[in-house]
Structures are given as C-alpha cells and as structure tokens.
C-alpha cells in the first residue's frame, strides 16, 4: 500500500525525488509549496483499489452475506424501541413458550414469560453499542501510545513498550472480570474494561507502523519544513498507517461483542439492560428442558460476530493485499 496522499503529492511537487538518507540529518528540500491540504488519492491508485474491491467481492461472495447480516442486525438494534416498544424485561405472556408455538411470540418466551424476540432485538443494540464504544476507546488509547512510542523511539519507546508488554501479559479475561467487579458493571464500565484489555494489540500494531513510516521520505520532508511532532503524527503518518488499523477495528468490534456477552453471561454485565449474554445466562438453568432460551441469543451473537469477521477478512484483502497476518 503506497502512502499515496503525501508521497505522491510530494513526487508531483518536485520532479526528481531524491532518495533521502534515513538518518537524523535533515536534508532541506527545495521549494516544497502547495501540499498542506491533504490531497486526495491520485486517480490511478483509486482505480486500482476499486478493481481490487470488485475482485475481492467476486472471489469471496460471502462478504456480501456478512455485510447484509450486519446491516440487518444494526437495523433491528436501531429500530428495536419502535418495533418492540416497552421494556424488553417486562413479562408479556405465558412462560416457557417454545418458538413457533404462539404467533404473538415467534421466538417463544423465557422462564418468566418475557418475549425472546424483543430481548434479542434490544440486545442487538447493546451488543453493537458496547462493541463500537470499546473499539473506539481501545483504538484511541492504543493508537496514541503506539504512535508516540513508534514516532519518538529511544527511552519513550522503551518505557511505553514495557507498558504494552505488561498489559499484554495479563490474561485478558481474568483482567476483565477484575475490572468489571471493581468498577460495578454498566454499559460504560464494560466498554472501558474491554478497551483496557484490547488496546495493547492496537498499540503494538501502530507502533510498528509508525516506526516504519517515520523513516519515509515524505515524513523527512515534513520534518525539514519544521512541522511539529503532533502535526506530523496526526496529518502525515496517521493517514498512511490507517489501513491495517481499519482491519483491526472490525475484528475488535467482533471480539468486544464476544467479551461483553461472556461477561453478561456470568452475571457481570449491566443488570439494567437486556443483553444476549444475560439472556443465555438466565436460560442456562433450564438448559435441559428449554434449551431454545440459550440457543437463540447465542445464535444471534454468532451471526453478528461472523458477519464482522467476514467483513474484516475482506477489508484485509482490499487494504493490505500483502498482509500476511492471521486473525489476532
């Protein structure tokens, strides 16, 4: 993936781009004028990306299925208050109704007579909300720390790398359980807790990206112009480091949803909202006789996570054609 915004702009601004030595010596560039507005990707690159998108879709039609599933689930989550007004935790019918037994409750009811379909619809919004919030937070922390470590190097890098290592060594789920138990479970604390265990992966990835990109010509050029570190990090390097981060983000939403559901299943979720994990936890007692109570919400989790992972795979192929890393 060429860092097309800046390198290409630079190349067109100065006909022969000298191969700058990768060192601390700042080589002044002659007359570099009009590239501060981050120029859009030049046409040929975009065209090639477009072709690659099509090729990926053609080779892997499952992506479309994944995108459709995700779209449907997001719609259901967003429209849940309209489709199923009222509290999904309210008792609306006879308990232990099997799916299909009563047209009024197509997915059946649970042990207290709460509608499973309404619960799954409302649960979709909780799962997606926690997934997206946790990912956004994890990206924010991870990219900030990774960028600083990768850009500045030296002692800063040594200390931050150690911090990353410490957090990566702590077993994720035990750590999650500890944080949630301490902070009292709510949608907000769950998102924070998941972000705290997922940021080290992002930090490692962005540290490596920033390290390699900071040695490139266009960054040297920006430095020679006297741009400050903040500006170089945010508007020069970050755009080039984005593709692998976007791929990671889609996989992070998927794993955040899995973590949230596991915590809620164990009774460590937000007690005031209905979530897929808590529905499974509530149905567990009746596993022998009424296993549909566990099966249906779990199926919803699997579909959502699968859809996100299918999309992540496709993004990986489109954005990092030569990326050779498996799922993380």
């Amino acid at each position: 993936m060429p860092p097309y915004n800046n390198a290409a702009a630079l190349r067109s601004a100065d006909a022969p781009t000298p191969h700058l030595p990768v060192s601390e010596v700042v080589v002044p560039l002659p007359r570099v004028t009009p590239f501060y507005p981050p120029s859009p990707a030049p046409q040929p690159v975009r065209w090639r990306t477009g072709r690659r998108v099509l090729a990926v879709f053609a080779r892997n039609p499952l992506v479309l299925i994944g995108a459709t599933i995700l779209l449907l689930i997001s719609m259901v989550g967003l429209l849940a208050p309209l489709l199923f007004p009222g509290d999904p935790l309210a008792i609306v019918g006879q308990p232990f109704l099997w799916p299909g037994a009563d047209a009024a409750h197509p997915f059946g009811t649970d042990s207290l007579g709460r509608d499973l379909l309404a619960g799954i619809a409302h649960g979709a919004s909780i799962s997606l909300r926690v997934g997206i919030a946790a990912t956004a937070l994890g990206l924010l922390i991870g990219v900030s720390i990774g960028a600083i470590a990768g850009y500045f190097g030296g002692w800063t890098d040594a200390i931050l790398s150690r911090l990353i290592e410490i957090f990566q060594t702590l077993p994720n789920f035990v750590m999650l359980v500890v944080i949630v138990a301490i902070a009292q479970p709510s949608v907000v604390t769950l998102s924070f807790a998941i972000a705290i265990v997922t940021w080290p992966g992002v930090a490692r990835l962005s540290r490596a990206e920033f390290r390699s990109i900071r040695a490139r010509d266009f960054v040297m050029a920006a430095r020679s112009l006297g741009f400050g570190p903040a500006r170089i990090i945010l508007s020069e390097i970050l755009p080039s480091a984005l593709p692998p981060l976007i791929v990671t983000a889609s996989m992070m939403v998927a794993s955040a949803i899995l973590m949230e559901s596991a915590l809620s299943f164990m009774g460590l979720g937000d007690p005031n909202v209905v979530s897929w994990g808590s529905m499974i936890g509530a149905g567990r007692e009746y596993l022998r006789t009424a296993w549909y109570m566990c099966a249906l919400p779990g199926f919803a989790i699997m579909l959502t996570v699968l859809a996100l992972n299918l999309i992540g795979d496709a993004l990986n192929e489109i954005l990092n054609p030569r990326n050779n890393e498996g799922p993380r």
Binding site: F173, V174, M266, I280, L287, G298, I301, L306, G326
Partner: protein, 343 residues
C-alpha cells in the same frame, strides 16, 4: 570419530544457544513481572469492600470492633504502601498471603487448582495445535480450491462462536439428548476406580470442556498456519529442496511445516496463560475445579487476595511460556539466538 565430535559440538552449541536465549529472555521478563505485581496490587486497591466486609455480611452478626480486629489480623488496616511492601516481601518468599474466606494460604489454594487447570489447558492447546495445523496444511495444499474455501469458512465460524454458548450446546446434545458424556464435574463422585479405569473416567469428563475451550484456538492456528505455509512454499529454499529432488511430502514436513510453526508457536505461547486464567467461563459452566472457576468464586466472594494471586500466577506462566517459545524457536530456526544474530 570426527563425525562424533562434530555431532558433539553441534549439540553443545545448541545447548549453549538455548541457555543464552533462556537467560536473555528471562532477564528481559523480570521488570515486566514486577510491573504486573505492582499494577494488579494498585488495581485491587480500588476494589469496593474487602473480604472482611463479605465475611461479616455472611455471618450477619458482626460488630464494628470484631471487624476492625479481623482487619488488623489480616493487615488490611495498614497504609497502602506498607501493604504493597509486605506483599512484595512475602512474594519473594513464595507467600501469596492468606485467604480469609477459605481460611488457608492463597498459594496453597492456587496450587490445589493448578493441576486440573493445566490438564484442561494442555489438552485444549494440544488438540487445537494438532487440528489447527493439520487444517492449515490441508488448506495451504489446496490453496484457492473449493476445500480451502470451505475450511476457511468453517474456521471463521469457529472463530466467531462464543465459547460459553458452544459449551452449553454441547451439553444439550451430548449429555441431555444423547446421554453419552457427563455435563459437568471432573470425575465420577464416589468412584473407586483406579489405574486405567480412573483415567478413562477422567477423560470422559474432559471431552466437552476441552472441545469448547479449543474451538477458537483451532480457528486461529489453522488460519495462521495456512498463511505462513503458503508463504513458505514460495521461498527459495523450498524451490531448492524441490530441485534437489525431495519428495513433496518431505518438503512439506521438513521445510514448509517447520517454518509455519514459528508464528504458530509464538501465538500459542501467548495463549497458554490466557487459557489457564481465561478458561473462567468454560470451567464455571462445567464445574471444572481449576483456576478459572476459583477466579470466579473469588470475584463473587470479593476475595481479592486470591484474585490477585491468580492474575499474578497466570501472568508469570505467560512469561514462562514466552521463554519456552523462544527456546523452541532457537531449535526450529538456527539463526535465532546465534552469537552474532541480530534478531
């Protein structure tokens, strides 16, 4: 004679390389371990309520004086820094503190649970590695063909299924409907079987938790080994091996697989501790008497000393596993850890 000394020298250099790698990574890990101790201690200082509160709540008839006396006995009334110092000093002697709830040393509590956890995590890891790498090899050998695509989708499904849900569904199918396997526990209660019969009994209880725990790791290892085997197949040394006239099978086993194992072992090393500490959900579902279930009980009982001990123990295990992985890499790839290696 010459061949013998040559072999001897080779063994010696492999040994010294192993020792060098172990020393280097071990030294590197020390500050991380200290950081983890301090971090988890600080974290747990934020916990609302302590073990004495829980005990008092359960007893129902605690007086303020009695609680203060209990706190003094467990050192819970000292300043935070002093508690940390005491903790570190005790830790240096292998003492993880006292659990007021279980009324026994935390280290003993943990050690009692370690064997069962190790058995379960070890079985799941081996199962995941064997199946995952085999699936990856099949996919890599048939790259781009129907079977590759099919297995890729299967592994993505494995990657997306929540472990606790598949655990419950396996119980429904194999315990409730078919009645083939027990739905929980670690051995038949009151069983007097010994030897082989006892082992078989234990195995029956292990099947479902092991499968539930390993599913996601099968997915990870199969995808990882698929990619790295496809990459290794395109390398020069494979072309050389083929030009030498080696059979495809030999090339696959000796050259391609060996290279594919490096990323897989790296990831597997990171998973060891995660599996041990992170099988919290699976162990709780199946009533498996391991560290994960102990962690859950500790959270519910607000026994943070135990929780801290588990967090610490499993982190140290991750560090240990990473050292082992580095040594395995040294054996797989002679460039790693060579005296002049810039790795």
């Amino acid at each position: 004679m010459e061949a013998l000394t040559g072999h001897w020298n080779l063994t010696m250099s492999a040994l010294s390389r192993t020792a060098r790698i172990a020393a280097k990574t071990g030294l590197h890990a020390l500050p991380t371990a200290v950081g983890i101790v301090v971090l988890s201690f600080v974290l747990l200082q934020f916990a609302p309520g302590d073990a004495v509160d829980v005990l008092a709540g359960e007893a129902g008839s605690a007086t303020a004086e009695g609680m203060a006396e209990m706190r003094a006995r467990f050192g819970l009334d000292r300043p935070v820094l002093e508690q940390l110092w005491t903790y570190l000093a005790n830790l240096a002697q292998g003492n993880l503190g006292w659990s007021p709830r279980y009324n026994m040393p935390v280290s003993q509590l943990i050690w009692e649970r370690v064997p069962d956890s190790l058995i379960l995590a070890g079985a799941a890891l081996v199962l995941a590695l064997v199946i995952g790498v085999s699936l990856g090899a099949v996919m890599a050998a048939n790259e781009g063909q129907a079977i590759d695509r099919l297995l890729s989708v299967v592994s993505l499904i494995f990657y997306s299924v929540p472990g606790f849900w598949i655990a419950l569904m396996l119980i429904v199918l194999f315990s409730v409907k078919l009645g083939w396997l027990p739905s929980g526990g670690a051995e038949t209660i009151g069983s007097t079987a010994t030897g082989l019969a006892a082992l078989l009994d234990k195995l029956r209880y292990m099947v479902l938790p092991t499968v539930s725990l390993s599913l996601i790791y099968i997915a990870i290892y199969s995808r990882l080994s698929r990619v790295s085997m496809i990459e290794a197949k395109a390398q020069d040394f494979v072309r050389t091996a083929r030009a030498k006239g080696l059979s495809e099978r030999r090339i696959l086993l000796r050259h391609v697989l060996r290279n594919a194992l490096i990323p897989v072992t790296t990831v597997a090393g990171m998973h060891v501790g995660g599996m041990l500490g992170g099988s919290v959900v699976i162990e709780t579902i199946y009533g498996w008497p391991g560290l994960g279930r102990l962690a859950y009980e500790a959270v519910m009982g607000r026994d943070f000393g135990v929780l801290l001990g588990i967090l610490l123990f499993s982190s140290l295990l991750v560090i240990f596993a990473n050292v082992m992985v580095d040594i395995v890499h040294g054996l797989l790839d002679p460039r790693v850890g060579a005296p002049d290696a810039a790795v």
